[in-house]
């Protein structure tokens, strides 16, 4: 066997001498023209290590080559925002929330790994996004997870879902981060393509912001955290077989594509990094994510003075048989790379030692503009760093598919509606018991929502709410939303609906929405129909953010979510962050117990809008027509009203209306508070824009018109609230009052709370044990 030091490294010298030797670029996912570009950049063939590096850096995942031309709109159309301290292009965006605090948050996908190995895939997804937040200089304070699976009753869902949930639970709980919310939905389009999107949010003081830049020639480059192993380098096997001969090809064939999470090491890494930041020992820092050392070194170098010299043989290894390409591509978790002034290296290493974190000086910053890597003294990489960091950019063809018209023509207005009170009652119970709308405790009980002691609201509330400052009550609210059905019908409007819903969820706590993150889950960008969906979604989001006055601060794109030629529904997941001036004044969704009856007011306008609705899907298996029409100006006024009413202490409860409409929202508020309500659907509307809901209880109960919310008022708040509604021009309708032990719709139906909750609570435990 060849020893580690003898692994036949493909050196720059050898590459220059064998300039014409064919390379396995196609197997590594590079197109011929991309390979030719590399040849042109280098003036010779790339070494195996260089080929590995370019192939991962120019992958869709790292280079955003198909999405870049569209994502630009987020900056171009961004509304003016005084709150943005760091925007797109950083590991995560940073927002000023006042009182000297800054918040950073981002959502990222780990879809494919979670399908292959659900527990570890989801766990490492959480680990990865937490490191992104940490790299900004912030202390991570909470996580969220947005999940989509195939049909709830499918055998493969029984394999994937429990594993994903246990992975998120394992990693997040062990890190000590409260899980404050997320999403769970099911649809056949996600069978084989589950979506696992993880969000992390962190807090810091303004001055604590860190940068991912390697400046100052002579500064040291330190790799710290876990040792580097063969994790996730399955793809490197073709390189090994092409360049190293048979023995190592055999061992390479065994390289795992599965990464294993080590949350304990990550917890130590977090505390270690925060102590390093506090000590001023770091001039630049980058987390190691998908493309490991390749990505961290090129991005740090390209963003700084451009040059770096790295000794790959100094990288601490868990497996001594790894060679340069594998070290560059390894996706071993729980690693970070820092740039440190030479005089501070000893202090840096001492802090690492205190936290039992392995650290090694692996190189220096240079002023050459070139990224040079050696292996036992021999150069194996010598490239202009910027060429790897700035990948190719494609303007992919896009085309609105013809089937889009057929879909729109399939109007849910033609579906048979429930007859009378009994029919409405039955449909409500069916909706509440459907997997997508059922009680999520089976999942969320596995997540720690209390740790750190600052969780004010968590699942199943509209938004998570975390206290940031104990003295003043300053806090942040966060919600994520995405509706694949709406987006399938119209990706532009569907994305705006998702944005509007997340925005409204944040507003329902009394917080002011400030900024947006997003995870764009789509099929193959090489399919013009998917590319059209993507372009529409991005345009919808950018336009929507401009209207709402909240900038996109970052996000992530996940393409290739498809089975064969069938893509998933376009599923942008939108996260909105808001600031709460006093978390003690937050209404929850639960109707108040123990108090007298509270007046119920429905805010917003209700139109007969059933395209993509939960009712059409659950009760008829139907998807067609047009999604509800978002009105983001109205959404903005509603948010203003809610913040003002919460601040004035007028709200006893607030719950936004979304899937399942008013009926489902009322049921959720009843069940959460353990208190019933009686509503009349004939009350007069204060706004002048829309007629009364009388005469059409079906639409009143199940329509999914956007921009609506139901609130329960504090005793005696009616007048003050009515005048606020007038001031913010929000249509408001008194629909009844809380109280009693059932959900009663006058002249229609009544359901005791026990019955209301029975199916709702039973669904997921019956499916998943």
């Amino acid at each position: 066997m060849t020893g580690p030091d003898l692994v036949a490294a493909d050196t720059v010298e050898r590459a220059a001498a064998t300039a014409g030797q064919p390379q396995p670029y196609a197997e590594l996912g590079l197109k011929q023209d991309e390979y030719e570009k590399i040849l042109a950049i280098l003036g010779r063939r790339p070494t195996a290590a260089e080929l590995a590096l370019y192939s991962v850096m120019w992958s869709e995942h790292c280079s955003y080559k198909s999405s870049k031309v569209h994502l630009r709109q987020f900056a171009e159309k961004a509304p003016p925002s005084g709150a943005l301290l760091a925007g797109i292009g950083h590991n995560a965006g940073v927002v000023d929330i006042g009182q000297g605090y800054a918040v950073t948050f981002k959502i990222e996908s780990h879809n494919h790994p979670s399908y292959v190995e659900p527990h570890q895939g989801a766990a490492t997804g959480v680990g990865g996004i937490v490191r992104d937040i940490l790299a900004m200089g912030a202390r991570p304070i909470a996580v969220m997870d947005a999940l989509r699976f195939g049909p709830a009753a499918a055998p493969d869902t029984a394999r994937v879902l429990p594993g994903v949930v246990s992975g998120i639970s394992f990693y997040g709980n062990c890190l000590g981060l409260p899980n404050i919310g997320g999403e769970l939905d099911f649809d056949a389009c996600y069978a084989g393509n589950p979506l696992v999107n993880a969000l992390c949010v962190g807090v810091m003081q303004h001055g604590d912001l860190q940068v991912a830049e390697a400046h100052g020639p002579g500064n040291k480059v330190i790799l710290f955290g876990s040792a580097t192993g063969p994790d996730g380098v399955g793809g490197a096997s073709v390189l090994a077989s092409a360049t190293f001969g048979d023995a190592s090809a055999e061992s390479a064939a065994k390289r795992p594509s599965v990464q294993v999470g080590d949350p304990f090491t990550e917890k130590l890494l977090i505390e270690c990094c925060l102590e390093l930041f506090a000590g001023g020992l770091v001039t630049g820092i980058q987390d190691l994510g998908a493309a490991g050392v390749a990505c961290a070194t090129t991005e740090l170098a390209a963003a700084g003075t451009g040059g770096m010299a790295v000794r790959l043989d100094e990288v601490p290894l868990r497996d001594a048989t790894l060679g340069p390409p594998e070290i560059l591509m390894s996706e071993s978790q729980e690693r970070m790379m820092a740039v440190v002034e030479p005089g501070r290296v000893a202090e840096f290493l001492a802090v690492c030692a205190k936290w039992d974190v392995r650290a090694a000086v692996v190189g220096e910053v240079t002023g050459t503009g070139r990224l040079v890597m050696t292996w036992h003294g021999e150069p194996v990489v010598d490239i202009p760093a910027a060429t790897a960091a700035d990948g190719p950019v494609y303007t992919r063809p896009l085309a609105r598919p013809a089937a889009q018209d057929e879909l729109a023509a399939s109007d849910p207005a033609a579906l048979p509606r429930p007859a009378g009170g009994a029919g409405l009652r039955a449909d409500l119970l069916a909706l509440l018991a459907s997997p997508g709308l059922a009680d999520k405790s089976w999942v969320t009980d596995q997540y720690d929502r209390y740790v750190r002691g600052d969780t004010v609201l968590a699942t199943p509330e509209d938004a998570g709410l975390i206290r940031v400052d104990e003295a003043t009550g300053l806090g942040i609210a966060l919600a994520t939303d995405g509706n694949g059905r709406y987006c399938r019908l119209d990706p532009y409007l569907g994305t705006q609906l998702a944005l509007g819903e997340a925005y409204r969820n944040v507003a329902a706590t009394g917080a002011r929405p400030l900024a947006v993150t997003n995870c764009l889950n789509f099929g193959s960008p090489e399919d013009p129909a998917v590319m059209w969906q993507f372009a529409e979604a991005v345009r919808g989001l950018a336009d929507g953010c401009a209207v709402l006055g909240v900038p996109v601060t970052g996000g992530n794109v996940s393409f290739y979510n498809q089975t064969g030629t069938t893509p998933i529904h376009p599923t942008p997941v939108i996260g909105v962050l808001g600031v709460h001036d006093d978390v003690r004044r937050r209404p929850g969704i639960g109707f108040p117990a123990g108090a007298g009856p509270a007046a119920l007011v429905l805010l917003g306008r209700t139109e007969p809008e059933f395209g993509g609705s939960a009712w059409a899907y659950v009760c008829h298996g139907h998807l067609g027509g047009r999604p509800p029409m978002p009105d983001l100006e109205a959404e903005r006024r509603l948010a203003g009203l809610l913040a003002a009413a919460a601040a004035a202490g007028l709200l006893a409860a607030a719950h936004d209306l979304s899937e399942g409409g008013l009926a489902v929202a009322l049921a959720e508020s009843c069940l959460r508070g353990g208190v019933g309500c009686t509503v009349q659907l004939s009350g007069q509307l204060s706004g002048q824009l829309s007629g009364s809901l009388a005469g059409d209880p079906f639409t009143a109960l199940f329509s999914e018109s956007a921009g609506r919310c139901v609130v329960a008022l504090q005793p005696g708040a009616d007048e003050a609230f009515a005048s606020l509604c007038a001031e913010y021009e929000v249509p408001a309708q008194n629909i009844g009052a809380t109280g009693g032990g059932s959900l009663t719709v006058t002249d229609c139906f009544s359901v005791p709370l026990d019955e209301l909750g029975a199916g709702h609570v039973r669904t997921l435990p019956e499916l998943f044990g």
Partner: protein, 217 residues
């Protein structure tokens, strides 16, 4: 007392402050107890809980000071992972094993205070019902039948799950104490029930005020 992987340490410190006492940070790698009047071992995942919960933490340097002090009467409260550490260190009988459902459980639960005479439960009435969150994956209390019988006979069961038994604990035991009642271990987290803003109730505060009455005396 903070071990690598302790998580609810700042919450325990906050609860101590809320009770009117001064929290002092003890670090696993240091020796000595800094003259404190009582020690709380907080929740979390010490050393990742990779072997068995609490198994590695019990060998931390500071434990060689804590164990004799606890045997000599120092009030010690172990919460969740802290409870597991106290069992591993043989300061409390029994052990905590995997939850019956094999899943981590975070739920607000009604509990009954069975023994209101320990250093940490004096503020409660015997039989009092409180609501406190549980959050653990290995919280099923286990001991051999003889030990269980002794616990019941001697009143060493401090806390019991009052409605459903969420995790398959023997005799629905949620907390136990040693013979002198100065060392108490609880699976539920009273430090997360000291303020209704951030917890289900303020019912947990009594654990932290209880110990002060002994100290002040």
């Amino acid at each position: 007392m903070t071990f690598p992987g302790s998580l609810d340490d700042r919450d325990a410190a906050r609860a101590v402050t809320a009770a009117g006492a001064e929290p002092v940070v003890l670090w696993h790698g240091d020796r000595g107890l800094k003259g404190v009047d009582a020690v709380i071992l907080p929740g979390g995942f010490s050393y990742g809980d990779y072997l068995r919960c609490g198994a590695i933490a019990r060998f931390a340097p500071v434990m060689s000071d804590l164990v004799p002090a606890a045997r000599a009467g120092l009030p010690v409260l172990g919460i969740c992972n802290g409870f597991q550490i106290l069992c591993e260190a043989h300061l409390l009988p029994g052990a905590l094993t995997r939850n019956a459902g094999l899943r981590f459980i975070n739920r607000d639960l009604p509990l009954r205070v069975e023994n209101a005479r320990t250093a940490w439960t004096r503020a409660y009435a015997g039989g009092e019902r409180i609501v406190v969150p549980l959050k653990s994956g290995e919280g099923a209390y286990a001991a051999d039948p003889g030990t269980l019988a002794d616990l019941e006979a001697s009143g060493a069961v401090v806390l019991r799950y009052a409605a459903d038994n969420p995790n398959g604990s023997a005799a629905a035991i949620a907390g136990v104490c040693n013979a002198d009642g100065n060392v108490v271990g609880l699976m539920p987290h009273p430090e997360h029930a000291v303020d209704p803003l951030t917890g289900p109730s303020a019912d947990g505060l009594g654990f932290f005020t209880s110990v002060l009455t002994g100290v002040a005396a």
